[in-house]
Symmetry: C2
Subunit: 285 residues, 2 copies
Amino acid sequence: MPGLRFKKITIIGVGLIGASLAMAMKKAAIVEEIVGAGRTEENLQSAMERGIIDSFSTSCVQAVDSSELVVLASPVGTFREIMKDIGNRLHEGAIVTDVGSVKGELVIEMEKLIPEGRFFVGAHPIAGSDRSGLDYADSELFRGNLTIITPTERSNKDAVETVAALWRAVGARVVLMDPQEHDRVLALTSHLPHVVSYALVNTIARTNRDYIKYSGGGFRDTTRIASSSPELWADILLSNKDNVLQMIEVYRDRLNEIEDALRNKDRAGLQKLFEEAKGLRDSIS
Amino acid sequence: MPGLRFKKITIIGVGLIGASLAMAMKKAAIVEEIVGAGRTEENLQSAMERGIIDSFSTSCVQAVDSSELVVLASPVGTFREIMKDIGNRLHEGAIVTDVGSVKGELVIEMEKLIPEGRFFVGAHPIAGSDRSGLDYADSELFRGNLTIITPTERSNKDAVETVAALWRAVGARVVLMDPQEHDRVLALTSHLPHVVSYALVNTIARTNRDYIKYSGGGFRDTTRIASSSPELWADILLSNKDNVLQMIEVYRDRLNEIEDALRNKDRAGLQKLFEEAKGLRDSIS
């Protein structure tokens, strides 16, 4: 395989992930020209002034013109409309990929929407931050972290390999996974934790807000992700609603079993439940 | 006030907090001699070899002999028995303090158990770790962190001031609080987060353990405290049972309201709940 090198790519949505990917690809010297697209001209202007992108357009249709690769890095709820707009403007052989937190049905739909001779490959870098936006972009954001790529039976093998090579070039560890399984995994490892963390802060908000000033490192860690973007997370959870609702049910049962043990002063039972959790959690320390 | 300096103190329970306090007091040069006491001779021997304590005994009664200050740093469930054992062996004017995560009734009982002319002052450093034990002890553990001191109407003012001065000497910010309020605050800011975090890891344990390998930084932070000692945390939660059960109820309602908004595809409602959480959480970033 020749060295990976794109002449021109387009990143739609130049926020934390989109801008970090642009910076990382430039650092890895695998791209000549990056076009940015998005809703807000001011943000795109700022990204260009910092050298993160080389040019920009607030029109996705214009921005994808003659690009070999288009990266969707806007909220997942916008992907369908964007694909409908840009589909027949894509250069023959162009690859469209994304960085969205939800796959499943969305990948199937994107594959249906993309015209013949152009290829969609879903991807999801498991990296991010409670911070959002250009200001926190970091060319090293993906290094050492996992990127899940979600090919289907319809995927073009070369396109999948190109997207995998791109992520490896920016330092990510790449795993291939079925899009539906991806959504079950993420419901458990990312979407449920956000629900839990938002609910925990709201427990203080509805009892005594002042008490938060007595919180220590444990509370701060447990609720760090409650600082995440409300708009983005409403979008992600709604896009993976059924899996998340199912995991909330399993979670509520786990909460209830701890509550029951506590109510019954069942010290041995409590300790056993905590040991179960500690055993699994220690495996990723 | 003359400079704070103890000739001899005793630390009962030479684990993470007890050993860290011993190291911090030595570093601050406010103590001449530290006696360690505990269940396990091997642990005490190790603490002495590292210079954390100067001598030790597996008998609390022997260890408190002629000490000006006794620090209870063993699990909170052991305090009553220890006080009954050491009470009448305490040197006149001696202060007994603790580092326990639960106050409330316990403080009232300790005040009743301690003989006339000896003084109990409850204290709780809001510092700690998912790690426990001597190996993780750190003389800087308390610096910049809060220590809550819980005097009552019966407290001796000089004793309270001495304990406050001790904590300030090791770098802590000191706050005075009613023991019952302390337990409501901690139920919310520390005990509930532990329940939530243990339950979250157990959700993975009961669905698909393998999925934990796909977890990212968000999950890791949210569940860090699920690596905490099961024995210690069963003890803490049982000691603050009523407050914790009440907070679990408020928390479950917050979880349910997010679940309802998600089930009803109420994007605006979800976003509002997340904004409420983010607003409060950002205030301690």
